[in-house]
Amino acid sequence: MSYRDIRIGTALGLILIAVACGFLPLLWLGLAYGFSGFDAYLPRVAGFTLKQAFFSTFLSLGLALPVALAFARRQFAGRNALLKLFSIPLALPAIVAILGILGVYGNNGKFGGLFPVYGLTGILLAHVFFNMPLAARLMLTRLETIPAENFRLGAQLGFTRAQVFRYIEWPQLAPAVIGIASLIFLLCTASFAVVLVLGGGPQATTLEVAIYQSLRSDFDPARAALLALAQLVTCGILILIAGQFAKEVQVFPRSLAHVKRYDGESVYAKMLDYAALGVATFIILPPLCNVVATGVTRIEFDSSLLRATLTSFGIGICSGSIGLLLGWVLADGAGPRSGKRLRAAITLACLASLIMPPAVLATGWFVTLSRFVDVSSFAVALVIILNALMALPFVWSALHPALVENAQRNDTLCASLGLKGFARLRLIDFPVLRKPLLLAFLMAVIVSLGDLSAISLFGSDSLVTLPSLIMRQMGHYRMDAAAGTAMVLTTFCFVLITLAQSWSREQ
């Protein structure tokens, strides 16, 4: 057994323990109580969870498709700026965006009273705000891999705009769409902050939030366990379905030059494209402007803000480091040298926090630990571990391609030179991987900085991060202070994501 095997085994083992501590007590509780906790509440909550996730996914994808097609087809002044705007929601902490949405569409907002912002409409708006840009960017990535010759051939054959879509664009998108849809469905199923703030009562609550309420308000671990099991089954089925449909995706070598397009020259086509971009911009921009406009002047530099900032960064750096370390070891273990089974196990481990959303894991940990110790004294550690697990999918996606490339490029030469262990790490891996490693770390920190679910489940008066400070200020109707804190949090996330983006571009 090599040092590498031990490393990978340890990382996998740690995640397995974390997942087992989350899952087994739930199973045990679920079996012990059976369906005694089962009443009309659970199906209603589960039903609403699926309903809002379905509509959120449908709307996000439905709008993202014309947006992605327009971005792929058009070159216009400000295209890059608009693309940057579309990347902001991806980095914005949920609570900040919610504050922005409330500021615009809430009772006192500029567009207040247009529609009820609390309840299903508000939840859908917030989910589209986050997921439409995500879907559009993922689709655009696919569209940008279409070889230029396809469009030339289409032009030569006289394809109409619809035929370009049918023969060229859609076949390229189709294999990815189910994957994107199931990702967004999963994210919306496990959505916490949005539903916590914008959901209203038992009519508009999701499993994730109901778990939190059972644990923190009702002190009813048995019900939390039942809800968590329902959530776990839902997410598990979703992942299975997504896996079934995830087809082998055809990848063309990416051309560096911009692909020239010949379709969509009519006024009508142009209007449609720019209308799609306009609608999308109108969804994204107002809440962002609101956050900045109301936040800048209202920052209250007091001790609670300072403490929350330090706590956030402390937790962020710790969980980022753990997430990076775990993710690095695992992504390295899933390289081309490893067997198929090991790779599957590692992929599954990295996605653990998607299959078992934070509230599910937290419920299990809570039940396990509360039998032996006072959970609140371990709160910081639990938040850090939970955040690290939540960051793993992001660390994975930032590191894995770079590690595979590094292995393909350097493994043979390193082996022939006998370069291994620390010498290889110092001379080859670290210099080559410095940027992706930093990128992965920053993404992990950003996930942690924006986290509201772990901190809500384990936080207390003495453990307050920036997002939970915003929640507290909102809870006390100190909306100005909340806006100011949101501005501070946004600034931090923004600086980090800008750093991350500039590094990832240089790769």
Partner: protein, 231 residues
């Protein structure tokens, strides 16, 4: 058949300037260093790029503002000549009707073209399931059903081995003779030009520097730039 008069085109920092005449039924090869503008020349004729100034005529019709599908031209690229998710037959059928609106006569026409290029047995295969040479035959079959008088070839056989390349060139030569096609072929293999073309155009630094009969092009008396490139 094809005339380029003082055609100017700007590609990044490079200003290209083309003058060229290709006679009806002629097989002309286009040779020259990488980045000299060979492919751009074909793209201008096919209508994928619009010149800044100058005039392109195909069959004596000015092509300014004429979209690619309304030009009397078929073009075969080096790669990606077919849609990977459609079978061989459908890929060829798109050459006749983009809405795949096909009566019995058209279907027979497509079958005939596939027969002609030797793909009759592969109708229902996907392009990913056949070899590189067979893939390029799809494009040849599609050009056959499109039945345009000009055929532009942009290094279509570069990826194939010598014997297969010769076979494909024979196919193109036969079709040219049958249909009296005018052919312009960009190639990096001088022996292909020598084998198939009646004249060779030498493109260098964004200009058609020389147009010579094939024999003169490969003779020791050719201009020094050509000899330097060939050596």
């Amino acid at each position: 058949m094809i005339t380029l008069e003082a055609v100017q085109f700007r590609y990044e920092a490079m200003l290209m300037h083309f003058d060229l005449q290709v006679a009806r039924g002629e097989f002309m090869a286009v040779i020259g260093p990488s980045g000299a503008g060979k492919s751009t020349l074909l793209s201008l004729i096919a209508g994928f790029e619009e010149p800044v100034s100058g005039c392109i005529r195909i069959a004596d019709i000015d092509m300014q503002g004429v979209p690619p599908d309304q030009r009397a031209v078929s073009m075969i690229f080096q790669d990606n000549n077919s849609f990977a998710h459609l079978d061989v037959w459908t890929n060829v059928a798109l050459g006749i009707s983009t809405s795949l609106n096909l009566d019995a006569e058209r279907r027979a026409h497509i079958d005939g073209a596939l027969e002609r290029v030797g793909l009759a047995a592969y109708k229902t295969r996907k392009p990913t399931e056949i070899s590189g040479g067979e893939k390029q035959r799809i494009a040849v079959a599609r050009a056959l059903v499109r039945d345009k008088p000009v055929l532009l070839l942009d290094e279509p056989f570069t990826a194939l081995g010598p014997a297969l390349r010769r076979e494909m060139l024979d196919l193109i030569r036969d079709i040219r003779a049958e249909k009296n096609l005018t052919i312009l072929m960009v190639t990096h293999q001088p022996e292909d030009a020598e084998y198939a073309a009646s004249r060779v155009a030498f493109v260098d630094a964004g200009r058609v520097a020389h147009v010579l009969p094939t024999e003169a092009f490969f003779a020791g008396t050719a201009p020094s730039k050509i000899r330097a490139y060939l050596a």
